[in-house]
Amino acid sequence: MVMKKLKELSFFESLLEDPKNHLVEKAIEQGRIAIGYNCYVVPEPLISAGKVFPVWMRAPGITSTPQADYYLSSVICSYAKSILEYGLDGEYDFIGALIFAASCDHIRRSGQHFHLLNLNDDDDKFFTYVLDTPHKVNEAGIHWLINDMKKAVDKLNENYNANINEDTLRESIKELNKFNRLMKSIGDMRKGDRPKITGTEFHKVYGASKVAPKDMLIEPLKRLRAELEARESDITDETRLMVVGPNIDNPEFIQLIENQNAIVVADRFCFGSLPGMELIDEEGDPYYNIVKHYLETCQCSRMMEKGKERIEYCSNIAKEYNAEGIVFETMKFCDLWGYEGLTYVDGIKAHNIPIVRIEREYSLTGEGQFRTRIQAFVESIKNKKELSVLNKI
């Protein structure tokens, strides 16, 4: 699969090279405050209101984590360790605050170390805050999280005069909806028989939107969409795959899958777009709307009452995007996704969707093994397809 290179794509690619990319630098120069976050359940509108903007914590190009190994031990997931390693190396000195959620044991401990090791301590205003996101959705939990979010907002207003209030939150929701409509119009291009955008390209574009202020991306995104609309698709017989699992923020993973005569048409992983492009209710209490939206749409295995819903969600997405198989990737040492596999794999098979389970690290190690597994999976789907055609004859 060789598609004509998109001119606008290099702009998005450049944003993923370094945590402090040129748009982040520009925003900071304008007096805006970068807020580090690392989970879907930290609501983006909350940290996009007023003077603040969100930056998804990543560690692009990291190869080893010696310092984080010492503090977090060798049995913690490599994503949690990698962002701490970058924190210890000073790569995140530019963030004004780190707001993370009590998403999982690993992320909690990693975030706590930013505080315990006094990282960014030179900046008097810097703080870390753990959002106490419940593991289930009910009214009591929604109100609990609203109160917690308000405490985080108070801290941001107090330390940075961030101007976050109900009005700016409403505005932030509107802006995000507008952005997501635009993003979805690009994401939907993956649904057709001949997608005009590859999974790798989309992942780069979507990923860039998580690491830079969204308002600075609207125009480039519009130009990209125009370019895509005029683009001819070269995709013919590639096997259409969906990728499911925890965090992937390195497009090389998707590229590796697509190099095996496949195309990734749907992405249900942290840092992916499903869920991620749904619209938030703009009427009524913005806090309530935000919390309800993120708790209800979250499809992470941390949500303890949604196991069966996750299987249904993925099987519906697979149908909607016409995916022929699912790559279920789990991060080594991740307990939540490790357990998820016990019920998820059988659940997906029951929907007659082929699935392969692959364990990986945050950085692209074990590339050969990963490639071989995908190759074999793609071949098995193709063989089955050919066999069913022959049977019909």
Partner: protein
């Protein structure tokens, strides 16, 4: 501080002690068999059928082997207390499983750390699947292997915590007793939370209620939220079982619970003494059982009162918890289940007594029994602040801060940190705990292990790590050098 430097054990005492201890051992051996036989005799058909379905029941029959491992050649007040408590536990478990098998309609499967008091007040029987996972490896280090293999062959990574992994394995082999519904929670960790999806599916998708404990439970708002959740649980139970909430019964349980708290606090105080009358599993096991698994009834209060009486008697006589105690320590992580009797070895090989441990040290507060709300609030607090939830789920300051408080209060010669490789929450704080102890000039002994699988780290490998620390850091001589290396990699009895 070498507490028993002056201790002299003369030979006459030793001979008398051997005869006495053998008699005590025989008495409990007989009692334990009696309890297990009674379980079978009161419901012979059910138990007989159950043995085919729940194969771990066979392993429970080997309980007296575990008692031997725990008590063999031990001395002092700890010996009697451990015997007494193990016997009490065997009887309690026999009763629990007997009731569960006889009255399956009344059974509710509850996760470890769900308050069983509430179910008891509703006239329901609770079965905690994790109990089998804790007990089996203690009885026989390989008894859990078939369940671990079942979970791993289904795709569960071997690096997850062994406790929920073994429990999931029991469920996958369809050996969790059937109940009418399940109550689980997000405690104590991600593994515990996630394992109930597979447990529910394996036992036929019966209704489940999931309790959500807030991350930071140090304020009143979090307790109020949890109380609302507990009310939701009661409503769920009334809808899905024959149980009805009886607040008077709950009041009675809470009053008993308060008595238990009183006893426990006294025991903690006694453990602080320069010549401690209680330590190791004589302190750890009763707490673990009473505050994690059991419902506080009169029998439990009576049992603990007896333990306290024995502690006090020893204290008054200036009798140390075991002969030859040279070092006091604080054990800051769960002891390995596959080497449940490590206390025995620590006492006899190195003279080490743990006067406080992570699973015991927590918040002991009385439950206000004046209204239903105050009772739920009190129980809610007790479970939110219970050891595993407090240290593994809450902010890092809980685990580190409590360790430093325990060090301050119990003045250990060193801290012993069993590094359970599946516990991400504690492993990720090891470095900081070590650094804090170093600042206070308290040596920090780390030994790595897998909680329920001795194929990962054998018992001898655990011992070697401790031996190295004792020789290199503490510059200690073993009390009995024949115990430095023991061949118990098989099911050997030492």
């Amino acid at each position: 501080m070498e507490v028993s430097k002056e201790l002299n054990i003369n030979k006459k005492t030793s001979v008398f002690r051997i005869i006495r201890n053998n008699y005590v051992n025989y008495r409990y051996w007989r009692k334990n068999w009696f309890c297990m036989n009674m379980m079978a005799l009161t419901a012979p058909k059910t138990i007989f059928k159950g043995m085919f379905k729940y194969t771990w029941l066979y392993d429970l029959l080997k309980s007296n082997i575990m008692v031997d491992l725990y008590t063999n050649k031990r001395s002092g007040p700890n010996y009697d207390k451990v015997h007494m408590h193990l016997s009490f536990t065997i009887k309690s478990f026999s009763d629990m499983y007997k009731n569960a098998l006889k009255n399956p309609d009344k059974v509710v499967i509850i996760q470890n750390m769900v308050p069983p008091q509430i179910l008891h007040a509703m006239g329901l029987t609770s079965v905690v699947p994790e109990v089998a996972a804790v007990v089996l490896p203690k009885i026989d280090q390989f008894a859990g292997v078939r369940y671990l293999d079942a979970a791993e062959s289904k795709g569960l990574p071997g690096d997850t915590c062994g406790l929920p992994r073994l429990t999931a394995g029991i469920a996958l082999k369809k050996e969790v007793p059937i109940g009418s519904c399940i109550i689980s929670s997000n405690l104590p960790c991600d593994g515990g939370l996630a394992s109930y999806e597979v447990i529910q599916e394996s036992i036929g998708n019966i209704p489940i209620y999931r309790l959500n404990v807030p991350y930071d439970f140090r304020n009143d708002e979090s307790i109020d939220t949890y109380v609302e959740d507990l009310k939701g649980m009661i409503e769920f139970l009334e809808k899905n079982t024959d149980g009805k909430m009886n607040w008077d019964k709950l009041r009675e349980v809470c009053r008993n619970y308060n008595k238990m708290v009183e006893i426990e606090l006294e025991r903690w105080e006694l453990a602080k003494a320069e010549v401690p009358p209680v330590s190791n599993d004589a302190l750890w096991f009763p707490h673990y059982f009473a505050f994690n698994v059991a419902v506080a009834n009169k029998r439990l209060v009576k049992h603990h009162s007896k333990l306290l009486k024995m502690d006090k008697k020893a204290y008054k006589k200036g009798k140390i918890c075991f002969e030859g105690m040279r070092y006091r320590t604080v054990m800051w992580n769960p002891p390995p289940s596959v080497y449940g009797h490590i206390w025995n070895w620590l006492e006899r090989c190195w003279g080490v007594g743990s006067v406080m441990d992570l699973e015991t040290y927590g918040v002991m507060e009385y439950v206000d029994t004046s209204t239903p709300d105050t009772m739920l609030k009190g129980l809610g607090r007790a479970y939110m602040w219970a050891t595993m939830s407090k240290h593994t789920r809450g902010p890092a300051e809980n685990m580190i801060g409590d360790l430093l408080r325990a060090v301050e209060e119990y003045k250990p010669d060193f801290v012993i940190y069993p590094a359970h490789m599946g516990c991400k929450n504690s492993m990720s704080l090891e470095a900081l705990m070590k650094e804090e102890c170093k600042k206070r000039k308290v040596p920090f002994c780390v030994f790595r292990y897998d909680l329920v699988d001795s194929r990962v780290t054998t018992r001898q490998q655990m011992r070697e790590q401790i031996n190295k620390f004792m020789i290199d850091v503490m510059k200690a001589e073993p009390l009995d050098s024949s115990l430095l290396t023991i061949d118990d990699t098989g099911e050997g009895h030492w």
